[in-house]
């Protein structure tokens, strides 16, 4: 006898209780604090802040803890919280030239004012599992030096002086806010950059990689990659001047791309741009490559039909919270639509079999 599926409510409550237990893991093992995650899993925290579009390391660390380390789930928690926050106003544009750089490298010039600063990078580590870490070995102190003061000029400025690289027109308009207005096409560059900076790291990386392998190739040099802290300021109308709200860490990448000229533009290097919250190099470089690929129209290049050139394709599919939601929703019941398909297939099949039987008889 058929028993209607009842008790959904109790099943959900029990599932949540089980989930909480699984999240905690073996209680014989000490519980992890949010501060430990913030300090020791900082690159995960950075990714959650970047894709969550909210700069708050403590909250991102808490989201990672709550999400059991599922990064997209943590991003989702941050986004759902962010959307409830009131907007008091907008900050002044940040000046990345005034960044206190932890890391600053150029692949186009051997040396340049401000110097090459390697900083805390995995780049030249040998990827050998460090078993000493399992024994809770404390990290040795790194050597110290006095930090540089003053501005660090952007590498592309030196190319711009000779007109060897395109100049970006300064915009006066306040860019539209992707999180407050529906996305529509064609999107301007500010909107594309917003979508890319919060886009899924894996997706943006793969899109960038596809351009390197020939799907919309635009040979990039990393003109400059810099990571560091800079202040965020906001003008308070009552005061009439800007005050400092605090410091954030960002990663900025400017690529210098080969460009032999087109019908509308003379031969000149062109730029791709990436700017991401936190120390997030892979993402910033990927973003710059995809940004450059999507600029084909503006530069009068050919559309070769590469996925990374197609802004509608890239922007509609870069958001992992949207993507994972729609992908995972197919776990929900679909009895009704499946039933209608079932009846259709039975009917079509019966007709097809009857026709076949008739043909065999003839």
């Amino acid at each position: 006898m058929y028993v209607a599926v009842k008790g959904g409510e109790r099943a959900i409550d029990n599932a949540h209780a089980w989930l909480a237990e699984e999240r905690r893991g073996d209680r014989a093992v000490a519980e992890m604090s949010v501060a430990q995650i913030r300090e020791q899993l900082s690159l995960a925290v950075n990714r959650v802040m970047a894709e969550g579009s909210l700069y708050d390391p403590d909250l991102a660390a808490l989201a990672i803890k709550q999400a059991r380390g599922d990064m997209i789930e943590a991003v989702f928690l941050i986004r759902a919280y962010r959307t409830t926050l009131p907007r008091f106003g907008a900050s002044e544009p940040i000046d990345t030239g005034a960044m206190t750089c932890d890391r600053r490298i150029s692949a186009t010039f051997k040396d340049a004012p401000g110097g090459q600063i390697l900083g805390p990078t995995f780049d030249y580590t040998h990827r050998l599992i460090d078993f000493a870490l399992a024994a809770e070995g404390d990290a040795p102190d790194a050597p110290q030096t006095t930090p540089q003061t003053g501005k660090t000029p952007h590498i592309t400025e030196f190319l711009a002086r000779e007109d060897l690289i395109q100049t970006e027109p300064a915009g006066t308009e306040t860019p539209r806010d992707l999180t407050r207005e529906p996305l529509d096409f064609p999107a301007d560059r500010a909107l594309k950059l917003q979508a890319l900076t919060r886009g899924d790291e894996g997706f943006v990386l793969s899109m960038a990689y596809s351009t390197q392998r020939g799907y919309g190739r635009n040979h990039p040099f990393v003109g400059e990659l810099r990571v560091g802290q800079l202040p965020v300021e906001m003008e308070i109308p009552e005061l009439g001047f800007a005050i400092e709200l605090g410091d954030i860490t960002v990663t900025e990448c400017e690529t210098v791309n080969q460009f032999t000229g087109s019908k509308t533009e003379p031969p000149q290097f062109t730029r791709g741009y990436g700017l991401v919250f936190g120390h997030t190099e892979r993402k910033a470089i990927s973003m710059a490559l995809v940004d450059r690929a999507m600029r084909w129209q503006e530069l009068g290049e050919d559309n070769v039909g590469a996925p990374a050139q197609d802004e509608e394709f890239v922007l509609s599919h870069s958001d992992n919270v949207q993507a994972t939601g729609f992908l995972e929703h197919i776990k929900l019941p679909h009895y009704v639509d499946f039933q209608s398909e079932l009846e259709l297939i039975r009917r079509l099949r019966a007709e097809a079999m009857a026709t076949r039987a008739q043909e065999a008889a003839e």
Binding site: A4, V5, G8, A11, E312, H334, S340, E341
Partner: protein, 276 residues
């Protein structure tokens, strides 16, 4: 949950959604872009419907949620609990007693009245999407009322299968203007789209809202020689005996025997109560 506003969304966001709803009502079947918010439930799980419900609910409303026609499917339970918690509204499983009904994949069997609002969860609002993936193109097609591609698709179905091979999310034309996706309801439900109730459609991830105002003409696309047929399983309900309701097929034992029961649980339970 005192940290959040009534029905979760802040009043500014509700106002933005209400504006989109009003525009949708003014242009029946037209997809209005709106700045969909991240909700505390995943995209694809009814965030569009939830935002529309949040913008419509008042403290006096009585709210019902169905998924696949049933009040007790897990996601329906989850959404109903969400509004119980954030809006404190009364809830019901009785279709006739509800003032706002949020639904996924079904239209209730009980005829709705002018006092009711039916809110649909919509996964892909664009009926032309599977014929043309680009939004820039499909918006142009709607603007120019250029629906030839859809008719060709339906014609090809007939040429290949002898009938239109679309069983759910069957496209309709609203008030002789816009071709609209009625959300993935079985085509059996399509005739019920002409209703006394206000019907609102929310697609959160795709950032679109559209509407069918009461008593609007809604015609399922077809051809004169292949008229629209709202088919269903050719059985009565095994529980209440209804011959005119949409049925779920349930596998009852290891040999694969089937039974057919009403998908609308409130309708089925009501009929059994009346019979008893």
């Amino acid at each position: 949950m005192t940290d959040y506003n009534f029905a979760y969304l802040d009043e500014q966001t509700k106002r933005m959604i209400r504006r989109a709803l009003l525009k949708g009502v003014a242009i029946p079947g037209y997809q209005v872009p709106f700045a969909s918010r991240e909700m505390p439930m995943p995209y694809g799980w009814g965030t569009g419907g939830v935002q529309v419900s949040a913008a419509c609910l008042t403290p006096d409303d009585r709210f019902k949620v169905i998924d696949q026609g049933a009040d007790d499917t897990t996601n329906a339970v989850s959404i109903r609990k969400f509004f119980e918690k954030t809006a404190g509204v009364a809830v019901t499983e009785k279709t006739s007693e509800a003032t706002v009904i949020q639904t996924r994949h079904r239209i209730p069997e009980t005829v709705l009245s002018e006092e009711q609002i039916l809110v649909y969860q919509v996964p892909i609002p664009e009926p032309l999407r599977f014929l043309e993936p680009k939004e820039t193109e499909t918006r142009k097609m709607h603007a120019l009322e250029e629906y030839g591609l859809m008719h060709v698709k339906l014609y090809e179905d007939i040429a290949r299968h002898g009938e239109i091979a679309t069983a759910y999310a069957y496209p309709v034309k609203v008030e002789e203007r816009y071709v609209m996706d009625p959300s993935p309801i079985p085509k059996f439900d399509n005739p019920k789209l002409e209703s006394a109730a206000l019907q609102l459609f929310g697609a959160g991830r795709e950032q679109r809202i559209y509407a069918v105002p009461p008593y609007t003409r809604v015609v399922s696309l077809d051809f004169d020689d292949h008229p629209f047929d709202p088919s269903k399983a050719d059985h009565p309900c095994a529980l209440c005996g209804a011959e005119d309701s949409y049925l779920d097929e349930v596998i009852v034992d290891d040999t694969g025997r089937r039974m057919f029961v009403c998908s609308d649980t409130d309708f089925c339970a009501g009929r059994r109560e009346d019979a008893a």
